[in-house]
């Protein structure tokens, strides 16, 4: 695989914010704002990333299937972990003026299948909310009081399975209405529409980043656990048991480390028993903090 500027950072990247965007003209302001570089020109989908701020972006092309495929590709290509957030940002039609307004999609319905998705936590401090309908061709009649796009339902079908629903977000900027025809929306207009909201988008990313941090703290397995898992023979059940008892032990003794126990277990079982005994010894003086 031929890699570009981001290639050498692929292995050490711990991607936390994943962008899935249909068009290059939509993506460019985000790529610039978060200083992402293209990983390679020769991939199935163009992928950009910044290993310093842990952002990655894929340009999926239009349509729900491509959006889902692009997200899946990004997930597997960068081995994105289950605590990362997934954001679909793009332009959308809306039943009324003005164009240029940014919305958080609170309900995404696939027009053809009628399947509905409810992505994300509400971020009402920064952005208004609205329902969205994903249609197979650009909407010109705007029959309902909702946003109209061509990707979000495909994105919402898969992205929550990579992390969770509360780390999946859809944001749309109104580009066309009954009075502003889609045919007038040039690439430059699209770029400007997104660019105008980079300030708000950065704030949204800040809030989402806090959720990612919270989820990573909950899920991540510490280095010292990995060290013992690599250096001792664990059965599958002992492996799970060790991770569980370690979490309890660490919660009870946050300042202790396994290395500082002055104790060298001869087996995985012995290590688990030692941690269990530490907890039992603490029962009499148990504190809740």
């Amino acid at each position: 695989m031929k890699r570009g500027a981001g290639g050498e950072n692929l292995l050490k990247a711990d991607i936390k914010i994943c962008w899935v965007m249909a068009l290059r003209s939509e993506a460019m302001p985000v790529i610039d704002a978060f200083n992402m570089s293209i990983v390679s020109n020769e991939l199935l989908f163009p992928v950009y990333m910044n290993a310093e701020n842990d952002h990655a972006l894929v340009i999926s092309g239009t349509g729900p299937a491509k959006s889902a495929a692009g997200a899946t590709y990004l997930k597997s290509f960068l081995d994105v972990k289950s605590y990362a957030a997934w954001i679909n940002l793009g332009i959308a039609g809306y039943f009324k003026e003005p164009t240029g307004k940014l919305f958080q999609a609170l309900k995404v319905e696939h027009h053809d299948s009628r399947r509905a998705y409810f992505p994300g936590l509400r971020l009402s401090k920064f952005v208004d909310g609205c329902a969205l309908s994903t249609v197979s061709k650009p909407e010109v009649n705007f029959p309902d009081q909702v946003l109209y796009d061509m990707e979000a339902a495909g994105f919402c079908e898969l992205a929550p399975t990579f992390s969770c629903n509360e780390l999946t977000y859809v944001f749309k900027v109104v580009s066309d209405t009954p009075f502003t025809k889609a045919s007038l929306v040039t690439k430059k207009v699209v770029t400007n529409l997104i660019e105008n909201h980079i300030g708000t988008i950065s704030k949204l990313v800040g809030s989402i980043g806090e959720l990612v941090k919270d989820e990573k703290n909950r899920l991540v397995i510490s280095h010292e656990v990995n060290h013992y898992l690599e250096n001792f023979q664990f059965t599958n059940s002992n492996r799970v048991k060790f991770q569980q008892i370690y979490k309890k032990w660490k919660s009870a003794f946050p300042n202790k480390t396994l290395n500082a126990l002055n104790y060298t277990p001869t087996s995985a079982r012995e290590l688990i028993t030692r941690l269990e005994q530490d907890l039992l010894d603490e029962v009499k003086d148990w504190n809740l903090v």
Partner: protein, 330 residues
């Protein structure tokens, strides 16, 4: 503050829906078909969703009234519960709702009258038994009352059913709907209580014990029957003094005749539920305690449970009679 309300299309014009929406004027209103579209779905994260839950207004079609699990409740021969709401505005670390649902959004069923009709049918079918109906099983009975207005409807109904009891179980101090009406003899306001230090750590977003104590005494003075619920009992260093002082503080200047019942129960979880809840909060010391699993139930174990239970009973007997003290086992 509720900033998003999802409403089933069929109940958009229901008067309760309209009142609720009026009480959250800045919220976005999103139409849905059925609440199950977004409640308790796969890939939802209770812990994250709890940071900003949305409200879902829905209609319930069946199972309005259900028998309570055995070991729950007082001395009525038959106990039932009804859930006009799923989930709670508080975030108590031991709450079983975290393990019950993958969704922290609040579901409010607006067809209150269907609940009351079903309760009437249950009462008619059980003429030979004493009955108690619990409203605070899947939610706090009063905490959401400013938005739902449910207690007024429930009290209007139960005031006309003097042969059965209603228990409103709560940690809330939103008691205005009760204080502005005459007390109803068969409606018990039961407060969930823990020692202040424990509550300050575990009862996130809930009113302090000091405030709950003031609220329960105000209701008692106004003539409402009061229940005290020490459930779950939480073990930690110094628990004896903590519970002893808590009981003394509550009983101080509480009119004994206003005390309907006192119950206490152990901290217990079905194994699967414990696994789910503890995985949501692996950093919390409540879940790092070396619990014992027996028969599919995770608990402190019989030793601690019995010691705490006996102690509680001994302390309570200083202030009330044995006939008012109950030990719950679920």
């Amino acid at each position: 503050m509720i900033d998003t309300v999802y409403v089933e299309e069929k109940i958009l014009d229901h008067p309760i829906t309209k009142n609720v929406i009026k009480s959250v004027p800045t919220a976005d209103i999103i139409k849905i078909n059925r609440y199950q579209e977004l409640f308790n779905k796969r890939y939802q994260n209770f812990r994250l969703q709890k940071k900003n839950p949305s409200l879902i207004l829905a209609k319930k079609y069946d199972n309005f009234v259900l028998p309570v699990p055995s070991g729950f409740g007082m001395n009525a021969q038959k106990n039932f519960y009804f859930s006009h709401m799923y989930n709670c505005i508080y975030d108590c670390r031991y709450c079983f709702l975290q393990g019950m649902y993958s969704s922290a959004n609040y579901v409010l069923f607006v067809n209150y009258n269907d609940f009351f009709e079903s309760i009437s049918d249950t009462i008619e079918a059980q003429t030979s038994s004493s009955l108690t109906f619990y409203s605070g099983y899947d939610c706090d009975s009063l905490a959401f009352d400013k938005v739902s207005g449910f207690s007024k409807h429930a009290l209007d109904f139960f005031s006309k059913q003097p042969s059965v009891e209603l228990e409103l179980r709560t940690k809330s101090i939103v008691t205005s709907s009760l204080m502005k009406r005459d007390p109803i003899e068969n409606c018990v306001v039961a407060f969930s209580l823990s020692p202040p230090k424990i509550a300050s750590i575990l009862d996130n977003k809930a009113p302090s014990i000091e405030k709950r104590t003031i609220a329960l005494k105000q209701l008692a003075n106004a003539g409402w029957p009061i229940g005290l619920r020490f459930d779950p009992l939480i073990y930690c260093s110094g628990w004896e003094n903590m519970y002893s002082n808590l009981i003394a503080d509550i009983m101080h200047d509480l009119n004994p005749s206003s005390l309907h019942s006192v119950s206490h129960g152990p901290l217990r979880f079905p194994k699967k539920m414990y696994k789910k809840i503890s995985s949501l909060h692996p950093e919390n010391k409540l879940f790092s305690f070396p619990m014992i699993e027996k028969g599919g139930i995770v608990s402190y174990g019989k030793g601690i449970e019995n010691t705490m239970s006996s102690f509680l009973k001994m302390e309570l007997l200083k202030y009330t009679t044995q006939s008012k003290i109950f030990r719950c086992t679920v």
